[in-house]
Symmetry: C3
Subunit: 153 residues, 3 copies
């Protein structure tokens, strides 16, 4: 078991097999040492996490949803690494889209649910540049969608 | 004629000359083998394709609009390749912004209009990572704006 | 003083020290010669520049806000260059998010406040690819948030 996965296990997280592509796009593309991962939507074993923050979800709900995006991103990176997450060098960049009302202003606290988990799981290599914005709406009414760029070896 | 352009011809598509920059930004910038293409807005020979999906446009209208963004992206990549599209190695990443109402949830079906065209035109090298989200609004009220990262040789 | 900073001084702009990270993300991450800079929000010495364009702010207000994002981006790039901005090779890509009403359609004119400043300050190396879209809402109700990718040596 990779050191990172051992750490994830301590955090109570098991990475699922990366979901198969649902269309003519793929979960990730690698160019050189960069892996571009498709936007991951908030979901857990019970299904999609849906709702609009500021209306029917709180900031805390949103942060919990963003955490599931982090886990989905790591699952994709594991697949990109042929199953060996210890090939991960750095989380480079995240773009976090929050499904919110037009007057919501705590996007960073929502996306922190993803950022905090990545640093908890990966340590310093989990620290990343990012943007956190609201989208007007998101696919299937999910609460959060987060895409990422990762460096692997 | 490049193999890709022969394929585009079979699909009834001719790439227009890439539009000139309208401001202090440019249609694309290349760094190493990566080409970053500016957001391309939905338009065809009749002009801009405008409207808000969920209000005055259907999902199908949106997908047709997204297809025009794909053609515009390829026109820019052709220019980045000095006219020889066979230098294209891979479509790496797309970010698709849909002009929609706040309750619209079929962003992926809209952006599929772009993704499906790229795979139809390019085959496996057209498969890409992507994000599909709604924007609160888009320039000139266009229905769709899509930016892309491409690998060329 | 670097040539670029001398030029900035002529423009009446002094780069502040890059703000420290406020969470488990960082202002920038470098991979090879690419620097990915986190989304910079509109602010000046008087504090955050907040508001929704189309409601309580004009296009000109928005462009002035976008200009402050350009200055913040350059401050981060300077830090990435260990203080020597002359190591900057090229502004590669900007993504500009505008806090606007759903019927606002002049996102490009707002983000031009950033693009125009970068070309004014940097000349041709300031020309970049970009996308300009509205976000449904932005952190702390800022008017503009802009992220960037830069090439340095």
């Amino acid at each position: 078991m990779s050191m990172i996965e051992a750490n994830l296990k301590d955090l109570g997280v098991t990475l699922a097999d990366a979901p198969a592509p649902a269309a003519n796009y793929v979960p990730f593309v690698q160019v050189g040492d960069l892996v571009f991962v498709s936007g991951q939507i908030s979901q857990n074993k019970d299904g999609l996490i849906t709702g609009k923050i500021g209306a029917d979800m709180t900031v805390e709900d949103g942060a919990a949803a963003a955490r599931t995006c982090a886990i989905a991103l790591l699952s994709q990176v594991k697949a990109a690494c042929d199953g060996d997450l210890d090939r991960l060098v750095r989380v480079v960049k995240l773009t976090g889209f929050v499904n919110s009302t037009p007057d919501f202003t705590d996007q960073p606290k929502v996306i922190n649910g993803c950022s905090d988990f990545l640093v908890e799981a990966l340590g310093d290599m989990g620290r990343h540049s990012r943007s956190a914005v609201s989208a007007g709406a998101l696919p299937l009414n999910v609460a959060v969608e987060i895409e990422g760029i990762f460096q692997i070896k």
